[in-house]
C-alpha cells in the first residue's frame, strides 16, 4: 500500500491505517453481497461516523475533524476505495458533495441542525443538480422555485441522484430567477416535505452498491430559511463545490486503476499458460509496466492538484485535466487487468470485473470529459 509518503505525515498514515481496518472489518466481508443487492445497510453510516470517517475535513464544532487538512481526506478516501466498490464509496460519501454548500454558505441554524446529524451517521445527505433535461448545461436547469411569502414552492424533477432514494436532506439546485446562470439558487429540502417523492432506484452499469434515483417536486414548500447562500447566487456555489468533488473522483480513478493493477500483477504471477507464469511473457510484463506507469502518473498528478488546493488555490484547470486523465487511466488499466485475467476477468468473483464497470462513470459524473475539456479550453484562452 504504497500511495506515496511525500505528501502524507504520520497522522495521515495513522488515519489511513485506521480507515483500512474499518474497511477490512466492516466492509470487505460483505461487499460482494451488497453489490449484488444494489445497496449497503444504512447502519454503515453510523458505524463509519463512529470511526470518524464521515466527518473528515469538516469543522470540529459541527462534528468533524481535520478541517483544512486535505491530505487527511485523501488518505482516508484512498483507504475507503480499498473496499473495491466505487458505488459504496460514492453512497457513503454522498454528503461530501451535499454538505459543503451548507457548511460554507448555509445559515447558522441550518448548519448546526443538519451537518452534525449527517456527520454522526443519523441522517443521509444528497446533492441534486442534474435533471432529466440535462446535466452538463447546469446554467439552464429547469426545476423552478417560486418565492411565496416566507416560503419557496418547488416544482420539477432531478435524476441520477446519488443516495437519492435514502437521503434525509437534499441540497437542490433550483431556478429562482431569470434564465441562465444568474437565476439559480440552492435550497435545502427535507425528505418529509409534502409533494416531494423519490422514484425507483435506477439500474446501472456500475456503482451497484450506491442508490441512484430520480426526485420529483410537486409544489413542494420549504421555508425561506432553507435558502443556501444568496438568492440567484447558486451557480457560484455549484461551481465551487465541483472542485473538491472532482478531486475525489480523481482519487477514485487513480485507486480504481491501482487496485486493478495490483490484482493483475498478483494474477499474472500465479497463472500459468504454455508452461510458465503469464508474467513470464514479455507482452504481459510490458503491459503491466505501462499500467503501473499510468497509475503512478495519475496518482502523482492528483496529489499535485490536492497540494495546490491544500495551499488555498483553486486549480480549476488542473483538476479538470486530472479528472479526465484519471478517468481514462481507470478505464484503460481496468480493461487490461480484465484482459490479463483471461476468462476469469469476465467473472464477477474476480473483482477486476467490477472495477472495470465502476471505472466508466468517472468520465461522466461530476462533469463529463467533454465539459472538462471546454473548461480547460476556456482557461487556456483558446
Amino acid at each position: 500500500m504504497s500511495e506515496d509518503r511525500g505528501y502524507f505525515n504520520e497522522t495521515h498514515e495513522q488515519a489511513r491505517a485506521s480507515a483500512m481496518r474499518f474497511v477490512e472489518r466492516e466492509i470487505l466481508p460483505h461487499i460482494d453481497d451488497w453489490e449484488e443487492a444494489g445497496e449497503f445497510p444504512r447502519e454503515l453510516y453510523s458505524k463509519a461516523a463512529d470511526a470518524g470517517l464521515l466527518g473528515v475535513g469538516y469543522p470540529e464544532a459541527l462534528g468533524g475533524s481535520g478541517e483544512g487538512d486535505l491530505f487527511l481526506k485523501v488518505a482516508v478516501s484512498e483507504a475507503l476505495m480499498r473496499s473495491t466498490s466505487g458505488g459504496l464509496v460514492a453512497g457513503l460519501g454522498s454528503h461530501d458533495i451535499a454538505l459543503p454548500p451548507i457548511v460554507k454558505w448555509g445559515p447558522k441554524a441550518m448548519r448546526e441542525r443538519v451537518v452534525p446529524e449527517v456527520l454522526s451517521g443519523q441522517a443521509v445527505a444528497a446533492l441534486a443538480i442534474t435533471e432529466p433535461g440535462g446535466g452538463s448545461d447546469v446554467a439552464n436547469l429547469k426545476t423552478r422555485a417560486v418565492k411565496e411569502g416566507d416560503e419557496y414552492r418547488i416544482s420539477g424533477s432531478k435524476t441520477f441522484i446519488t443516495s437519492g432514494h435514502r437521503a434525509d436532506y437534499y441540497t437542490v439546485a433550483v431556478r429562482t430567477g431569470e434564465p441562465g446562470h444568474g437565476g439559480i439558487s440552492m435550497l435545502l429540502v427535507e425528505r418529509d416535505r409534502p409533494g416531494f417523492t423519490r422514484g425507483r432506484m435506477l439500474k446501472k452499469t456500475g456503482w451497484w452498491a450506491s442508490d441512484t434515483a430520480e426526485l420529483f417536486f410537486d409544489d413542494v414548500r420549504v421555508p425561506a430559511e432553507n435558502l443556501i447562500g444568496q438568492e440567484n447566487g447558486g451557480f457560484m456555489v455549484i461551481m465551487t463545490n465541483f472542485l473538491q468533488e472532482r478531486l475525489m473522483l480523481c482519487i477514485m480513478g487513480a485507486m480504481t486503476a491501482r487496485l486493478a493493477l495490483e490484482k493483475a500483477m498478483a494474477y499474472s504471477r500465479e497463472r500459468e499458460a504454455f508452461g510458465r507464469s503469464i508474467s513470464g511473457f514479455q507482452v504481459t510484463r510490458h503491459k503491466l509496466v505501462d499500467m503501473a506507469t499510468q497509475v503512478e502518473l495519475a496518482t502523482q498528478y492528483t496529489y499535485h492538484c490536492a497540494a495546490l488546493m491544500d495551499a488555498g488555490k483553486a486549480p480549476v484547470k488542473e483538476v479538470a485535466m486530472a479528472k479526465n486523465y484519471t478517468a481514462s487511466v481507470a478505464e484503460s488499466v481496468t480493461r487490461e487487468a480484465v484482459q490479463i485475467h483471461g476468462g476469469m476477468g469476465y467473472m464477477r468473483e474476480a473483482g477486476v470485473e467490477r472495477l472495470a464497470r465502476d471505472a466508466r462513470i468517472l468520465a461522466i459524473g461530476g462533469g463529463t470529459t467533454e465539459v472538462m475539456k471546454e473548461l480547460i479550453a476556456k482557461q487556456l484562452k483558446l
Partner: protein, 249 residues
C-alpha cells in the same frame, strides 16, 4: 487505578517477510511497520478497564528507535492518556526490555501492567514473565479474560488443557492472548487528539539499564516451502503413510 501498557513496533502482520540475502536477518527496508497485534489487544483491554471506570490512567510505553513513536501515537489514539518512549537504536532482547520496563514500573508504580504474550517478530514469549519476576509481581499470562475485583485481578488463562483461572494480588502483570478482545480502530477525532497528548522520551541510561544482548543470531533462513499434498485412496493408506513416511503416529 493506573495501568501501564507496553507496546512494540513490529513488521505489519499483513507483510510477507523476506530474509536478507546475507542471511543476517529479516529485510526491514521500506516495509510497513505496525503495533504488535498482541500489544493492540493489551491497549484495548486497558481502554475497556478505563471505560468501565476501573482504570483512571493509562500509560503506554515502548522501547525502540525514534520512529516507534508512531506506535505510541496509535496507543494514544486508541485511548492511552500519555506515553513514554525509551529511545534506543540498539537491539533490545527480552531480558533487557524487561529490565527497562521494570525501571519504568518503579517510576510509574502502576497497579496493573498489561502487555502482549509475545511479539510477532521474534515470538519469544518471555518479556512479561521476566518483568513479573524482576518486579516481584504476580503474573497472569495468556489471558483470555481479565476481571479486576478490588485489590485483586482474576485472569482466565489459555493453557494446553483448557482454561485456568488465577487470582492475583495487585499490582500484577498480565499478558494477552488472541481471544481476550477484538481491538477497536482509532477514530479520526481521537487520532487528532492524540497529537496533543504528552509523550515523554527517556534513554536506557536514564533508566540505569544498558542493553547487553546475550543471544547471537547465527543465521536466518526461509522456512522450507510447503510440499505439495497428495491424495490417498483409503484410510488404510493414510494411516500407513502417517506411520511409516511422516512418522507422526
Amino acid at each position: 487505578m493506573k495501568v501501564l501498557v507496553a507496546v512494540k513496533r513490529v513488521i505489519d502482520y499483513n507483510v510477507k517477510v523476506r530474509v536478507k540475502p546475507d542471511n543476517t536477518g529479516v529485510d526491514l527496508a521500506n516495509v510497513k511497520m505496525a503495533m504488535n497485534p498482541f500489544c493492540e489487544i493489551a491497549v484495548e483491554e486497558a481502554v475497556r478497564l478505563k471505560e468501565k471506570g476501573i482504570a483512571s490512567e493509562i500509560v503506554a510505553v515502548t522501547i525502540g528507535p525514534k520512529v516507534s513513536q508512531e506506535q505510541l501515537r496509535t496507543a494514544l489514539a486508541l485511548g492511552a492518556d500519555r506515553a513514554i518512549q525509551v529511545e534506543t537504536d540498539d537491539e533490545v532482547q527480552s531480558l533487557d526490555a524487561a529490565k527497562m520496563l521494570k525501571a519504568v514500573v518503579d517510576k510509574e508504580e502502576p497497579n496493573l501492567v498489561i502487555m502482549g504474550k509475545q511479539s510477532i517478530d521474534t515470538d519469544n514469549n518471555q518479556t512479561g514473565q521476566m518483568l513479573a519476576q524482576l518486579a516481584g509481581m504476580p503474573q497472569g499470562t495468556f489471558a483470555s479474560e481479565v476481571e479486576v475485583e478490588g485489590e485483586k485481578v482474576k485472569v482466565t488463562r489459555e493453557i494446553d488443557g483448557g482454561l485456568l483461572t488465577v487470582s492475583l494480588n495487585l499490582p500484577a502483570v498480565v499478558t494477552t492472548d488472541l481471544r481476550l478482545n477484538e481491538p477497536r480502530y482509532a477514530s479520526l477525532p481521537n487520532i487528532m487528539k492524540a497529537k496533543k497528548k504528552p509523550l515523554e522520551t527517556v534513554s536506557p541510561a536514564d533508566l540505569g539499564v544498558e542493553a547487553a544482548p546475550r543471544l547471537k543470531t547465527l543465521k536466518v533462513e526461509e522456512p522450507q516451502p510447503r510440499q505439495p499434498g497428495i491424495k490417498v485412496e483409503s484410510v488404510e493408506e493414510l494411516v500407513d503413510k502417517l506411520k511409516n513416511e511422516a512418522k507422526v503416529i
